[in-house]
Amino acid sequence: MESLPFVAELIISALLVSGGFFSLVGALGLSRLPDFYARLHGPTKATTLGVGSVVIASMMYFTLKTGEVAIAEVLVTLFLFLTAPVSANMLAKAAMHHQVKCMKDTRGQPWSQ
């Protein structure tokens, strides 16, 4: 990688590491939380904050490196932002249809009413 001004490198590094951290937090939530409906929360962090930070870092790097504005990465983030709630909703509906077991102290079970 080419060297950039120090402040730019600092911001890009912070964005990259925070993106990786949020991806890891999302995966930890996915693997450690007790039931499916709780696990559905984890990947939201990986989508919005993880990929979002990495994409912004990539945009900054290529904009500063080539001198022209790198805008095409926004499409990836935009598409992920638009589709993540839809797929999460469909997964929750499928799990409710299959009556996936939930935690002991969950209040209310909409599929049994």
Partner: protein
């Protein structure tokens, strides 16, 4: 400094992928596995963008975009199949 941050990020996302694979293998129900696949392709997009940064090109941006589109279609198809029993009625 940026190179070190890049490799730290690659390691973090790699551990995230391993945890997703754990849920994919372990997951007690079918929706868990679909959710693990969903997270897996999102982390794959992050890995592809990081590969772009490592190589210093923007060649693989289209790969990331196609992964986003096709991953969403796959997730919706599998969830629809679980709910309805068929993908297209």
């Amino acid at each position: 400094m940026m190179t070190i941050a890049l490799y730290i990020t690659l390691a973090l996302v790699g551990v995230a992928v391993l945890l997703n694979v754990y849920r994919l293998v372990q997951g007690p129900d079918a929706p868990d596995r679909i959710l693990a696949l969903d997270t897996l392709y999102i982390n794959g997009i992050a890995l592809v963008i990081l590969l772009d940064l490592v190589l210093g090109t923007r060649l693989y941006l289209e790969v990331a975009l196609l992964m986003a589109v096709m991953g969403f279609v796959g997730t919706v198809a599998m969830a629809k199949y679980l709910k309805r029993g068929s993908v297209i009625e």
